[in-house]
Each structure stands twice: as C-alpha cells, then as structure tokens.
C-alpha cells in the first residue's frame, strides 16, 4: 500500500491562531479524506478532498473553519482556523484508490496531534 506522511506530527497552538496540516502520498491516489479523532473517541469524517475543486464537507463541518486544498493527486492540506481548545484532536488523512487496491479501502496516515491552549 501507499506510504502516507503527515506534517507536523504534533503541535501546540494558541487560541485564535490557525494551523495547516499537510498530507503527502508517495503515489497518485483517487481519493483523499480528512478525519478528526477527539480524545478518547473514534474517528469522524470532516471532508473529502477533491482534486482541483472544492472539498465536500460533512454535516457539522464548514469550509471557513476547515479549509482544504488538494492541488494534485498526491497532496492535500487541512487548515484548522481560529482555533479553540475544543479543536484539540488528532487529525488524520486517509487515501483510497492507491495503485493495485480497491477504491473502497481507505489507508490512514500517522496523524497530527493538535493541542490548543
């Protein structure tokens, strides 16, 4: 399967600031997604990152708070804007449609652990 990296791996940020998280894949993929995992909870889909067009957001998530870019088939960014302590979570990117695999199966990056003070 593809190798997925995320930067930064962790960060501590001040309230009111923004952080951009990068997701890089070592091969072209069909689909990229962004998830949030709040402390002690499971994963929740934030949005599907669409290559060359606006991301598709899930209910409860909006573009102004979580702008997403996907300029090509191997890279995406998620920005967490105007952060508050409630945004403290692990943010994970996932990919589907790597060479030789089904587009149904998602593979996850290592995650970015964000703490907002």
């Amino acid at each position: 399967s593809a190798v997925i990296s995320q930067k930064p791996s962790r960060d501590i940020c001040q309230r009111g600031t923004s952080l951009t998280i990068q997701c890089q894949v070592d091969s072209q993929v069909t689909m990229m997604f962004w998830y949030r995992q709040q402390p002690g909870q499971s994963l929740t889909l934030i949005a599907t990152a669409n290559q060359g067009s606006e991301a598709t957001y899930e209910s409860g998530f909006v573009i102004d708070k979580f702008p997403i870019s996907r300029p090509n088939l191997t890279f995406s960014t998620l920005t967490v804007s105007n952060m508050s302590p409630e945004d403290s979570s692990i943010y994970l990117c996932s990919v589907a449609g790597t060479p030789g695999t089904s587009t149904d199966t998602q593979y996850f990056g290592p995650g970015t652990r964000l703490t907002v003070l």
Binding site: F33, D104, F108, G111
Partner: protein
Amino acid sequence: EDQVTQSPEALRLQEGESSSLNCSYTVSGLRGLFWYRQDPGKGPEFLFTLYSAGEEKEKERLKATLTKKESFLHITAPKPEDSATYLCAVQASSYKLIFGSGTRLLVRP
C-alpha cells in the same frame, strides 16, 4: 441513521486466551465493513474488508466474519503484541466510513 456499535469497550485477555470482538451495525445499503487496528499515537492500520453476509477473512491470529447485522473479529491464541484498539467501520452509499468507538484489547503475558 447509520450507526456502528462495538463491544466490549475494553477486553483483557491472558496470552493464549481466545475471544471475539463484536461490531453491530445499522446502515442503509452496506457497501462494505472494515476492521482496523490502531496502536497508541498512530493512525489506523487496515486489517480486513467484508462485503457480504457469510464472508470470512483471516490474517494470522485474526479472523473476521460478517452477518446481516454484525461482524465479529475472532482472536485465536492472542499474544501481547496483539494489544491495540480495534476499530470497526461501515461504508454505505458514499465512500464515507462510519466508525464505531472501538474495543481496547490488552493481552497480558
């Protein structure tokens, strides 16, 4: 509303003591059911995809099965390195994965 419930929330086993984890789901039009393993501080690691009732998949000490309402992850003769959180997720009409809250497994030597 699509929903996934996993039980138990936590499970402690002795090395070699086999057991099963449960994943019950309610979804309109199951596209697939997925099992992942997540170690602390890491992203979920893909284990299995099941598509239809009666399907089974195996990998080392793990075996996943699927019925129309639930899936089981059977762990045979577990080892301490099997300790992790096991996540179940369902995929309905879109590519979205809906995750359960996970089962934290601890295998003691």
